[in-house]
Amino acid sequence: MANVTIIGGGVAGMAAAGVLTKRGHEVTLMERDSKLGGHVGKWYKVFPDITDASEIVDELKGDLNGVKIKTNADVKEIEKSGKKFKVNGTSADAVLIAAGFEPFDATLKEEYGYGIYDNVVTSLELDEMLKTGKLKTKDGKTPKSVGLVHCVGSRDEKVNNNYCSRVCCTNVIKSGIEIKEHYPGTDVFCFYMDVRAYGRGYEELYRKSQEECGVTFIRSRLSEANENADKTLLLRVEDTLAGKPMKINVDLLVLMVGMCPSVNAGSLKNSIGLETGDDRFFKTKNKHSANNESNIPGVFYAGATTGPKSIVESITDGRAAAAEIHSYLS
């Protein structure tokens, strides 16, 4: 029986732990937070079927019988001697890094006014507002109009993130539907360069948002936001389909923040000489056929630690990594 340590108790780490323990391995799951679930554990409804995120986490937790769970365990480095590893004092024959991502820090896009203007929030704060049933501007009013901005911190050389965060487009669509369903009197405007709704059921959701919910999509990229005296926001975009600059006022502006590598990715990498790509996410041995393996035998990756992923992709990736680890150990 071999020991496997998993770094990260989000959906990818939990999914991997569930498979590995069923295959008879001694699994230690380390989570930096006080409870399992990662980002998904904090969210409200998720696409494409707009289910409760907590249901997904609960289901994955159900598979963790026999897994040694260590919460409040922030892992910054891995030690290696021979074929053995040590993670926060626990020895292991194989290590799975499922360290996930950090949401993009929206204050870096200063021209959008996050942290400066009253009614500019991030997608995470919008989710919290919808969860608590309080979609409100700072002065407590239900917004008559909401602007949703795609690609905040993604596809943007100015913040050193050239990559696409992949899930924000569908998150915009889902959020638009949720807003229109709960607040039918509120107008929703989405500012997109292109809609990358790539997964099964995502395009259908995009259609639904337009056909049934009346969400307005304006092909553009937000240039700047300015706060009016009444705390609403004046947005300047180019309506690129019309080829004309456009101004529009909204009561609430939501920045759909992208995914950045885990804050611990750098120190984990340096501790045993792992490799990262230009995007600073962990680099896998082969992008096609060895997408869970690192450059060090015995160290594996799963989930958003190797780049932005949706929930279903992270879970699938976690289970794929578990299969790779099982083969490695047998």
Binding site: F217, A242, K244, M246, I248
Partner: protein, 112 residues
Amino acid sequence: MTIDVSKWPFGVNQDNQVDFDEADKSLAMAVKAKDPTLKLCMGCGTCSAGCTAGALTDFNIRQMFLLLNRGRNDEVAEKINNCMLCGKCILGCPRGVNTRNVILTIREVLEK
């Protein structure tokens, strides 16, 4: 008091920005109420690429729908009759917008 800028001794450019708050969305809303398939337009341009009228004139059906959505109704009214109603656009639309009927609906609403 309205200022008559044409009397000024120098030129004043009109604001080129689209003010989306002020845009008159009533025509678009009336058309969408009569033909809801228009809500599904994603501006891909399949319709205008194959358009018989568009091949010979500057009529652009995709742009027509966009102008409508942006409340540029005068431009819509000016161009809408260039469509020959051949219906080729319907064959290509990947979103199932009943394009020919939308054109007819725009004309109908404009006439009222």
